[in-house]
Symmetry: C2
Subunit: 212 residues, 2 copies
Amino acid sequence: MAGLRESILRTSLELFEQKGFHGVTVNQIVAASNTSKGGFYHHFQSKDELLFVIHDTFITYVLKEANAANEIHKSPIKKIQSIIKAFVKVFDLYKPHISVFYQESNYLKPEYEEQIKRKRDAFKQMVFQVIEEGQETGDFRKELPMEITGMAILGMVNWIYKWYTPEGKYTIDEIADVYVDIILHAILTTNVVSEENFQSHMLERPFFTEKK
Amino acid sequence: MAGLRESILRTSLELFEQKGFHGVTVNQIVAASNTSKGGFYHHFQSKDELLFVIHDTFITYVLKEANAANEIHKSPIKKIQSIIKAFVKVFDLYKPHISVFYQESNYLKPEYEEQIKRKRDAFKQMVFQVIEEGQETGDFRKELPMEITGMAILGMVNWIYKWYTPEGKYTIDEIADVYVDIILHAILTTNVVSEENFQSHMLERPFFTEKK
DNA sequence: CATTACAGACCAACCAGTCGGTCTCTAAAG
DNA sequence: CTTTAGAGACCGACTGGTTGGTCTGTAATG
């Protein structure tokens, strides 16, 4: 038998994703995890703490990945490319977490909310930062307001949780490629991501273009 | 005194936006609306019906606007432009509705959910349709998978409810302009939305570009 | 034998929804 | 003009079921 704590986390995650945090009772969680109230409250202080743990594992992971992507590269183009790819791929791993995260974040108790908010803001600031850098180096179009552009990108990616399923028509890598392409087309000053630009910007070729 | 029904709708909307559907009790709604349980249940069958009404007024409006935008124009470029603009502007009018809509749509009772889903799908299909048209006419890049592109656009716009506030740095019209610009840059085959293209595609000039 | 891990009966609070009743306004009857 | 009848709007005490959380007991562990 695996650790009970992990088992509770897994099953509750499934339940929350299907029915929402308020649509699932502690008794249901306990039944689905083959344990008892005692078992549950031995590992978690409250139902709210459970919600927090789910939020936290996801956001911590995203922030870590983004930081890594950000540090590896120095060109803003490679940076944003790499962050977006990492970000999109997270949805393959953590889709249930993210669904719960965005649908129930209102209901976090203040003490938990603050911690989550800090990490989320850190991530957002990082994206903003990269956009600003790109505008300064001249790689990104200066006429686009940085905040709006940043939120557009974040929204586009975040929304994936509403529709992505591993059984869908496209793999997560294909989706990531398309998103990178869309965003780069939108913000690069070099308007054509043409054959030459694959070299010049060291862009990876997305799956949906053919080498001629 | 305005109608009690409207008054309940307005106050409950505010409360739901702040605390979420499950964070607000009928008694709180009743107190904030200066009425009583009796008053409430005279106008609404249940708390769930209230949620449905909120969802429905918003989605009905969006669908109507988008249909109008879609019918006025015949060029796919103008169509998508017009739909996006209308869509973005909705957030100025209905932000509380939309917040509740996206955070609590899990909790709609099946009989209500179906109605909402139908309208939402109709809207989505319309966006997909326009993208397909644009690809057929050669205005939009054929290499972009239609579904992914469509969801990217919808996500980008929908996410606005998370951050937009009328008191913010940019007006809703400015945001709409930037979004249209970003999307057109991303999907138009004509890669440069340059001076000539303003004429050729009859694009309106967004607020952040200067005539030279 | 002591600490940790879990079981499950139990409880107090809460909350959507009900129900009998009041008040007001209109309109027909006398 | 007055009285009566009825309908719609609204009130608020009450309830029945539900839910998160507690507490005492017990088995395993080391």
